[in-house]
Amino acid sequence: MKILVCIKQILAPESELASSAGGDTVVPAGVVERRISRYDACALEAALQLRERIGGQVQVVTVGPAEAAEALRRALGMGADEAVHIVAATDIPDPFIVAAAIAPVAGGCDLVLAGVMSEDLMQGAVGPILAALSGRPCATAAVALEPAPDGSALRVEEELEHGERSIVALTIPAVVTIQSGPWTPRYPSLSGLLKARRQPIQTLDPTALPVPEPRQRIEGLAPPPPTRGGRALSGSAGDKAVQLVHLLRQQGFLPPGRP
């Protein structure tokens, strides 16, 4: 089975970030970490485990700026066989453009895996859109994958809300988005990383691809409006601990202090 995994390099949410001057994206504002989005690393792990069970190849693809090649190197280090970099000047905030760029690469694959959502844009849109664009069946938020022995179908366990699940059968070729949980992304081995450095990364020029009309755009980013008071405790860590205990005692959550 040939499996394509869509991976996105993100500016980690726990990094120091700010809104860009144009308000259309988030930019570094200090120490930042760039890494593979959490669910995409799970998707790659799922693909590698499938390969171990039934054989085949695992290809990874990303649409992103030059530095996104690092994410592909790491994926190769984890064990992917091939990598494709669709080079874009910046991050692309429109899921249709991302899906349309990936669609030609997906065409040659039996199974396409994506993350249930990206950690930065959090849309959960690229996978389903890619499926619909390429006329393939789609399952989302998968927590288990079971291929049919002849490779013609896939049994997928999808996570719904509050612990409910549904089981669906997809015919191959198909698109599945991966939820976190059963898949703990492996660490690349040292030999894997060394090998990855020598492996070629195929680059595609997006200007050579048909780019669809954008359907939506981001206009402005702001911190979320507070839903609660958010009173910040001040002083040393010890001062804060004393203040907090006092407060919890006042409200009856802790017994009064021993005399």
Partner: protein, 327 residues
């Protein structure tokens, strides 16, 4: 020319969940305030009549019962195909669905089939001279983005509870129309549903919850969280999804949209970033205390008391202070 409608889409399998329908209707009304348009709903499924009638009575808007032949579950591939066909004929400006696993998958499919924009997890609606801007969380909730659709049709999933409480009840007699559809499943067949495991009564009844997030870093630090919980009368330990994913706590202890919904009098979030999927499970808590080393963490916008500290230094001090007398 008639104004393109705002169309609410509900699946009929589940009993009419009033809160979900109201949330969608309230979002539709928010859109219509800025850009007037008729609001209608479609309740689709194998046997949508009862749910359609209930929805019409409840929301006071026209409802179409869309009966889909041979459908075992809204999760079957035929659901989206029939729905797209139906909606295409209605030519709506807006299609609103719940922000669920089903809703997000359908949103992508419908957006492609209807050449529409696809905007998921919408939390607020604002209007300006140029039209409507939808607000949604990005970067784990650290920012909210305003998104403007440039396509004439927009498929939107609405974050659960985001618009609740803004519905004015209007008692209008049920106005249900019928439509029928049949489609091939397109390579996706629903096989079965697995019910959620029994909820953990300990969490739902706890007076206080101390919750561990990814920020605890290593499983041994759970001992600090447990030690803190032991000091607080009636406190239970819970976790965010990454903590339960790793098996550091059992799934039954997970708080959030795919876990438990809790409403203790006190919720102490330790190393939790404040993603909406987590907040959805604990926003009904009484007093919320957040401990996080990142002063910009989203959780601080949703906490009553904010402590910017690293857990490994702060929790031991806090546990110690619990046992000390006050000056």
């Amino acid at each position: 020319m008639s104004v393109a409608p705002i169309c609410i889409v509900l699946a009929s399998r589940d009993p009419c969940r009033a809160a979900a329908a109201e949330n969608l209707a309230a979002c539709a009304r928010a859109i219509a305030t800025h850009s007037p348009a008729p609001i209608q709903a479609v309740v689709a499924g194998a046997d949508p009549s009862a749910a359609a009638g209930e929805t019409a009575r409840h929301l006071g808007i026209p409802v179409t019962a869309l009966e889909i032949a041979d459908l075992s579950d809204p999760g079957d591939g035929a659901f989206g195909a029939v729905l797209a066909d139906f909606l295409n004929r209605k030519a709506p400006a807006w299609i609103l669905m719940e922000d669920t696993t089903l809703g997000r998958r359908l949103a992508g499919e419908l957006a492609v089939r209807l050449a529409a924009a696809c905007i998921t997890g919408v939390e607020a609606v604002e209007g300006d001279a140029a039209g409507i801007v939808l607000t949604r969380a990005v970067w784990g909730g650290k920012f909210r983005a305003g998104v403007r659709a440039t396509a004439a049709t927009r498929v939107v999933t609405v974050a659960s509870g985001a618009f609740a409480g803004r519905l004015e009840h209007t008692a209008v007699p049920a106005d249900v129309r019928w439509a029928q559809g049949r489609a091939a499943h397109g390579g996706r067949r629903h096989l079965e549903r697995i019910q959620a495991p029994e909820a953990d009564a300990g969490l739902s009844e706890a007076r206080a919850i101390v919750a561990a997030g990814n920020g605890i870093g290593e499983p041994d630090r759970l001992d600090l969280v447990r030690a803190l919980a032991a000091k607080i009368a009636g406190a239970q330990v819970a976790g965010s999804r990454p903590v339960c994913d790793r098996g550091w706590l059992p799934f039954s202890r997970q708080v959030g949209i795919t876990g438990a919904t809790v409403a203790p009098a006190l919720y102490i979030a330790c190393g939790i970033s404040g993603a909406s999927q987590h907040l959805a499970g604990m926003s009904g808590a009484g007093l919320v205390v957040a401990i996080n080393k990142d002063p910009k963490a989203a959780i601080f916008h949703h906490a009553d008391i904010a402590v910017v500290e690293a857990l490994e230094t702060f929790l031991p001090l806090l546990i110690e202070a619990c046992g000390q007398k006050e000056d």
